[in-house]
């Protein structure tokens, strides 16, 4: 199991445990973390799984591919830690990862 901590828009902190291979979007949606929708089911086609990865975890991630980059380009309030949760597959090396979630998606 891999531990993931979500810090919500309003400061609420919640940690969940999910299986190896789960995406960050699935970890959020599956545990009813507010602010992450995942409308396209993880096809990298909607950007409703936009979240912010805490700086210390950023360079442990596989870099974003072109489609993720174009969608992030259009998302709201993008910052240095912005990623699409569905494109981040969790594995042992990401055990303990921390992500902030936005107020909502659109």
């Amino acid at each position: 199991m891999i531990k993931v901590t979500f810090i919500e828009h309003n400061g609420t902190v919640r940690s969940v445990e999910v299986a190896d291979g789960t995406s960050l979007m699935e970890a959020a949606v599956g545990n009813l973390i507010p602010g992450i929708d995942g409308d396209c089911g993880g096809c990298c086609a909607c950007a409703t799984c936009h979240l912010f990865i805490e700086p210390e975890w950023l360079d442990k991630l596989v870099p974003a591919e072109d489609m993720e980059k174009s969608l992030l380009e259009l998302a709201e309030c993008v910052g240095p830690g912005s990623r699409l949760g569905c494109q981040i597959k969790l594995s042992q090396s990401l055990d303990g990862i921390v992500a902030r979630t936005p107020l909502g998606q659109h």
């Binding site: 096809c43 259009l74 659109h106």
Partner: protein, 421 residues
């Protein structure tokens, strides 16, 4: 021998299976007026998911009918272009009104610049700010309905509320609000079919719209920033310096985008619940299901039957060779009924596990920017309806609705209902 007992497979009774495959033309507007397109799409999904039609009202075109193939087209905007100069986003090649700069029919990088400027207007924070006033006005409209008497839901509720909501979004002078619907209808009307006589006539109407909106812009650019769309565009660094054409293009896109689509969802919801009384009962027993019912209504209705793209290079889709310049039509109305992507797709189920996994808003970089706004409007309508009329079947559809004859806008001309006291 009783005919009812001879097992004729469903597909052989359907006229969609009686013609040669290559003759199938799902763009025929009559199919949508009579609501008989379903069988043709079912057959295409099974036998020829990416289908070439050589002759139609709109010229030759490809039909993409499966969910996963539509997703592929949506996510390759470099190969499948939305650019108005190549033909735009509907099966009918673009008209003069829509030659205005609208980002729905632009490709990156231009598309991205325009979209980024408009998108914050419909961000969650702003929607929350608009919710109260939309709710109050929705309530007032419902309170004025003639309970106990037969009336047309399309006029009295769907058109009335979408017009009011557009006026609220633009903070548009209330007494003139029917102009918004008029401009929207004139933008998409086919010349000679009542509303506009010619492309010149259309441009004249657009001119009136531009003059009116420019006046509002000028008033607001010099006033304190407020949360309506025009004030936001007038004060945002990214939109402040738009050309007059860009301003008109964006305004019309927002009006048109949210008009017919939300309107037909507001009608479609009542129809779907009437056709599925057990779902109506489920909803009344647990009104919290409104949350998952709203996306299901949008899927079930599919307010835009398709979006179109034009191939920028030779490519392969679902095993078919698409040539540069070919017209490629993504039939959302078919993808939303694809049993390989959606469980029991032909059923209206208000408590689906993943209700937002549907194609009605498109996907990829052009995915509907107003999708959360649309959902909010329809959600408020149903929350307010259930407060007033909480019993299953209390809003009754009387007779069959009259449907729009169009392969693009999937909606209703009229639908008679009666609300029982």
């Amino acid at each position: 021998m009783n005919a009812a007992y001879t097992a004729v497979p469903q597909e052989q009774k359907n006229p969609a299976y009686a013609i040669p495959l290559e003759d199938i033309d799902v763009s025929d507007p009559e199919l949508y007026r009579s609501n008989t397109m379903w069988g043709y799409f079912e057959r295409l999904r099974r036998e020829d998911p990416v289908h070439y039609c050589a002759k139609s009202l709109f010229g030759p075109y490809w039909s993409v009918t499966k969910y996963k193939d539509i997703m592929q087209v949506e996510t390759l905007p470099g190969i499948y272009s939305s650019d108005s100069r190549r033909g735009g986003v509907t099966i009918l090649d673009s008209n003069t009104a829509v030659q205005l700069p609208m980002f729905i029919q632009m490709d990156p990088p231009q598309h991205d610049e325009h979209r980024k400027a408009v998108s914050p207007i419909v961000a969650p924070e702003n929607l929350a700010r608009m919710e109260g006033i939309i709710r109050r006005r929705t309530g007032e409209a419902l309170d004025s309905l003639p309970v106990g008497r037969e009336f047309n839901w399309v006029d009295k509720v769907s058109i009335n509320l979408t017009t009011q909501m557009l006026a609220t979004l633009f903070d548009f002078p209330w007494e003139d609000r029917s102009k918004l619907t008029y401009w929207s209808d004139a933008t998409v009307a086919l010349p000679g079919e009542g509303l506009v006589d010619s492309e010149e006539h259309r441009m004249q109407i657009m001119g009136e719209c531009a003059a009116y909106m420019t006046r509002l812009w000028n008033e607001r650019v010099n006033a304190e920033p407020r949360s309506d769309l025009i004030s936001m565009m007038a004060h945002d660094a990214r939109t402040r310096n738009m050309t007059p054409e860009e301003f008109l293009g964006n305004v019309l896109l927002l009006i048109v985008g949210g008009n017919d689509t939300t309107r037909s969802s507001m009608t479609g919801g009542v129809l779907a619940l009437n056709e599925n009384p057990e779902q109506y009962a489920k909803l009344c027993a647990n009104p919290a299901l409104v949350a998952s019912m709203i996306p299901e209504i949008v899927r079930w209705q599919t307010p835009l039957s398709h979006m179109r793209r034009t191939a920028t290079e030779d490519t392969v889709l679902g095993g078919k060779n698409i040539r540069k310049g070919d017209k490629v039509v993504m039939w959302y109305v078919s993808g939303n009924r694809d049993e390989e992507a959606i469980e029991n797709p032909n059923n209206f189920i208000i408590d689906r596990a993943r209700p937002r996994q549907h194609l009605s808003f498109g996907f990829g970089i052009h995915r509907c920017v107003g999708n959360r706004l649309a959902e909010m409007q329809i959600r408020i309508l149903w929350e307010e309806v259930l407060k007033r009329w909480p019993k299953p079947g209390q809003i009754k559809v009387i007779g069959a609705p009259e449907r729009v004859a169009s392969p693009f806008i999937k909606g209703y001309e009229s639908m008679q209902v009666r609300i029982d006291a």
